[in-house]
Symmetry: D3
Subunit: 285 residues, 6 copies
């Protein structure tokens, strides 16, 4: 008797009941303003994750000792953002209701809004740690309010002032930077300076971590829709995600904006895989 | 005194007033179900058109003798299909009102609906000649009605039975084929057999011509979102578009579904350029 | 309660017990003489198959009406051909023992030998229909006898003269052609002429069908290790595989030599997917 | 004692003295009007030729029975066309003086002029058979007379009316077609119709054969600087080159316009290799 | 009444009369010694610039507050370097005569010579700041004096000793380094050390800034003809170009050697766009 | 009289007798566990090396002053690892017997074992300096002992404890790290810290240097089979290889794991070429 073909992220073979973390993918990129294709990130990450090892010498831990369930990619209505967000929200809610951590793999950054809606309902005092090259704080983009360029603004509408902590930001409209600085978010431009203090200050509070991989320099992560030169290097990001995942009270997270059609060499996918592994290991502590 | 940088399709340098044909691009692909990227078709086609000659030895005619205006690509609200269709419809209406022929360059196939809405208002007895690999006749795609997989169904809702003539179709759901056969459209599967008769039968009636370039075999046209093996070859298509554009009373047309990110060698763009040239020359007769 | 991420070829969602056909992949390319990478064919084919429809207008049949089980890719010992062949043989034997049809997705052509070993044991009077650009009849390749360049010679050692029917062959050493002609195999050079007669003559006999996709012209199927210009077109192959799968007593088959790293546009994968769909539908009759 | 690393086209390992045919490459593309890169054709062709066999089942002949010397690529002064042509001319002259056949591998089409200068000096009654998508008959290109778009016009200046036989031509300016038709060249548009008669009529006269590979359809040969849809298929070209090389009194030839940077899949290089093999075998008869 | 399709670099929509800076492109690469293709840089940069924002958080300035005119790419005689340089020189002269700053986008590095000829005529005491991986100081390259490998030597012939300040240089012939050191140029190898002092020392003097983007490490900027490992990182370059453009009396500049055919991921184009934006903003101060 | 086409690494044109260093390539990748293709490294490196200069400003030395012979690539039996290793071993032995230094260009890392077998026979007290991202210390990989994932373990079986010095290691199984730490090898994780001391401590002892280029960060070196983020940068590696090659008693070395099919931009090949140049220059001191 043969088995069906189950495809999971490297080492994530727990049963749902025993899992502490649940992976799910949101193959959506309909509002991407420049180069689309992030919808293909989930399968690319699952497939190439097997080029990694389950063991991390950085953390001296092994995925085989963690309990992670990979529920695969959602089936999403390409072309209708509201419907898509509802499906993501529902999945995140299911996972949160079972007291597990929803770990969302995008897709474009708009998908974060679905998870935030669910997480904010369960944790009204939710904070967000946001790593990104872009502010994502527009009121609308050519009249479209549900856009990856507006996602953090939409999150702010749910959470309010002082709850969103942005790092690595190096691109946006002048208005967005000014709006942020006028007390709406805590925006740390260019790099991750101040992250340690933020992590320290959030101890005990529920935190959602959203990682737009374009916070990395395009030399490290070319395969993304809107590459923005001047970003951080890989080890800086790895140290940061371990610090966040290990030291805050994490209630949900996502990793987004890998765009496989622009990753001919596969190194961006390798970066995404390794960052996810380190996050999973750090969460598991 | 230097000039601004005007970028047009090869040889399309008429002033608007004197033009008979007006090109406009719709860089939209938000509902693409498989591989997105057709939004980049307009600039790719304009840029590579200069690798062609203005003269066609097939028709012994030259673009420099035609009167064509290229108004560039529309600015579209990526992520909101209804808004996008409204902008396309408005542009097509403007052109039609000035008694010129709107020639739309997609983008995904959904953009056709904008032009058809405008054309059907002016010509209530409009017929459509539709070349495509796919039926595009779904009622909805995962609940989304404004999808490139449903565009001809949406057109049928405007025009009704007996007005849509489909050729080259080789992919679709069983239901779509049966719906077509039950009198809703005139569906010619696999190749262009019957096109000549259709053209003959439509003499004197206003015709809109929509060309999904994936009607071509993927060997000829690899750079498209949903390549479907078993299509027609280049010369068959060229002869067909000349026949249509020359022999019917054409009131509008579009060429869509070139997806430059999947056209590494550039040959699909070259095919799109040459087909557009031949169409422009044949319209000009 | 969420489900694990099961990834199958389009529409192949039967339970094993009820299945008539069982897909399995052999991600192996260690003996590839020119450009390796066929090991990635299985996941590529499963992933891109969803760009197709389950329904075929050519055969007016639907995969949802067939009973096919996809057991995924085998785990193979890259670098040790004998071990790899043993694993393939064992899988084929399991499927044959359960009176199902093993449908193998390569990998390089050497994987066929594993299936043939199993099939020939169950059906000692086995015949092979072999479509390929290459003879694959070498005694050895640089001293290596288990090579994709020798696989049909190895099959002949099991089956003997008159059992192997080769079509489309247009490349090989002079010795190979002469060895074939001297009564060892029935070699039809260049195209598929004579296939119909061969199918007719094999009625009632157990037949294994091995399809090296490089029998296609490289314009149709660029993504393969050793592209050989001058091959057949897509529709010729589609008609042939339907004829074979429908009209002989098929006991096993394989489709091999898709090499995704050389398929930048994805059209070769699309061709592989559609041919497999048509084969599955024809077998199901 | 180890040997130096000699790299030749497949099976071309004769000593110079015993050779009947001498290959040499001209890695030049400085006047390419659209997409440069043909300078890399020589090494690409030599490298990938080893994916072929030395034996041709079409001609039942083997390169190991021919006597061909490969002298590698010339060192050329990129950026100075006149200097480059002088070096090519000198090499062709050396080979012709030794009563061998110069077989030039381009590079862009302008390189042909170097060989023609040498051949016309030795054979004042020289004829040219020219297969190409483009006329190449301009007087100048943006003021540049030594351009790949003018090469056949330059040859005509040497040879005069009635000596140049063009086939497959499907692109050019109106003026070029008219200039050709007014008695300057014998231009056969679109395909190879009439080639057989031309070959017959040239019996006994010295013929130079220049093959611009873009005469092929871009589906067959995408990797070229100026792909022009509507070309001939591979087998038509193969039959033609065998007919020419076997049946005329060939005194020199070239194969040009393979542009490896636009040949991601490698199939264009495979086509170039196989055509060269068939030419070499046919010349050897 | 519709508008023609004007394509400019992001935010550069001033009228010519009001402009302080004038962009123009020189699509030329005929003397490129290794991998050609820089001719496509202009359109690539204009197209992808729209993936950036007009606002720079580094300088807290916005392109919408500057006055920049983009005159598009020149039409150049591919294959004739002297003619090409004359056209560039004429354009630069026109702009200088109108007391505007000519900002040239290459193309290969040879194009700089055209601008320098014009600038040196207006400013006989001109200095050059030159960032590059290569010395570009050869007397000739295979006998060709107008080559991208000789461009700074040609500039020296105009300006003489002590006027050229080279930074980041890490490749060249031994003779070139020695020639530089013997008082001809001020050569700073490997990185930008000393740039600040040079900028300081040139206060009040007219300066032309020529930026060969291959001064960057190939990890940051892979898409160039001759990638040379060991270069500087993005932020180091950004800080340097701001310092130069803000603090010297800049009379002209160029950015060259982006080669789009080798920039599959698009990140090199993104780097070029952002550096140009920062230069334009710094000039505008 | 023309010469045959000799293709060597830049500046390596010594006669065998006078050479101190002998290059040879091993185009083998049959045991590569993830993405194959390193077999193409030799020709890619030789071809692109001509984009470099023979002179290094870092070492102020020139390849034209060294005596290096390039014997090209071995002909290897793809698919049979034991046979392949025997051929490599024999070649290394020949070179060592002639008191020259064998410089091996892989291929995958397993090829090192052939050279080590030969070197260890001549130098029983041999030490290995090993730069790599991966431990390569597995006992077997899916039952295969001759695998690139096991190559350093196989070397240890020859040399024993304390002889292998590993640097840059950041990936492996937990067991491998523990096995190393328990006295079998001297493993320096993550970077090259400690290399200087190791070089110092090995003075006077015969050392073999094996460089797996994936020790570099994938931003610097994307074109490899198993990219592992978090590696060292180019200049760190260049300084290290110069230090090793200049300061130890080097008896053999190799550079491996460049995988050209994943190096679309060519920058990985450029890195390999420059590192090899710097090694050759440092050895030559």
């Amino acid at each position: 008797m043969l088995n069906k073909n189950i495809v999971s992220f490297l080492g994530c073979d727990a049963e749902y009941d025993e899992a502490r973390v649940v992976l799910f993918g949101a193959p959506f990129d309909s509002t991407t303003s420049f180069r689309p294709g992030t919808r293909f990130a989930g399968p690319a990450i699952r497939g190439d994750s097997w080029g990694l090892e389950t063991y991390s010498p950085y953390q001296d831990r092994d995925l085989t000792d963690c309990h992670i369930f990979d529920s695969g990619d959602l089936e999403l209505a390409i072309g209708d953002s509201e419907k898509v967000l509802a499906v993501i929200e529902e999945r995140a809610e299911t996972i949160l209701k079972d007291d597990k951590l929803p770990f969302l793999i995008g897709g474009e950054h708009l998908v974060t809004l679905g998870s935030i809606r669910a997480a904010a309902r369960k944790y009204p005092d939710l904070h967000i740690i946001h790593l990104d090259a872009h502010t994502d704080l527009r009121e609308d983009y050519l009249g479209v309010r549900l856009s990856h360029a507006c996602v953090i603004r939409r999150c702010w509408e749910i959470l309010g002032n002082g709850r969103i902590h942005q790092f690595g930001i190096r691109s946006g409209e002048k208005d967005e930077f000014e709006w942020a600085k006028s007390g709406h978010t805590s925006l740390h431009p260019f790099d991750l300076e101040g992250l340690e203090e933020t992590v320290e200050s959030l101890k005990g509070k529920p935190v959602y971590f959203t990682l737009d991989l374009d916070v990395l320099d395009p030399s490290v992560f070319p395969g993304t829709g809107t590459p923005e030169p001047g970003g951080i290097d890989y080890m800086t990001l790895q140290r940061a995600v371990i610090a966040v995942c290990q030291n805050v009270c994490l209630v949900g997270c996502d990793v987004n904006e890998l765009c496989p059609p622009y990753d001919a060499s596969g190194v961006s996918t390798a970066v995404a895989c390794k960052i996810i592994r380190e996050m999973l290991l750090a969460i598991g502590r």
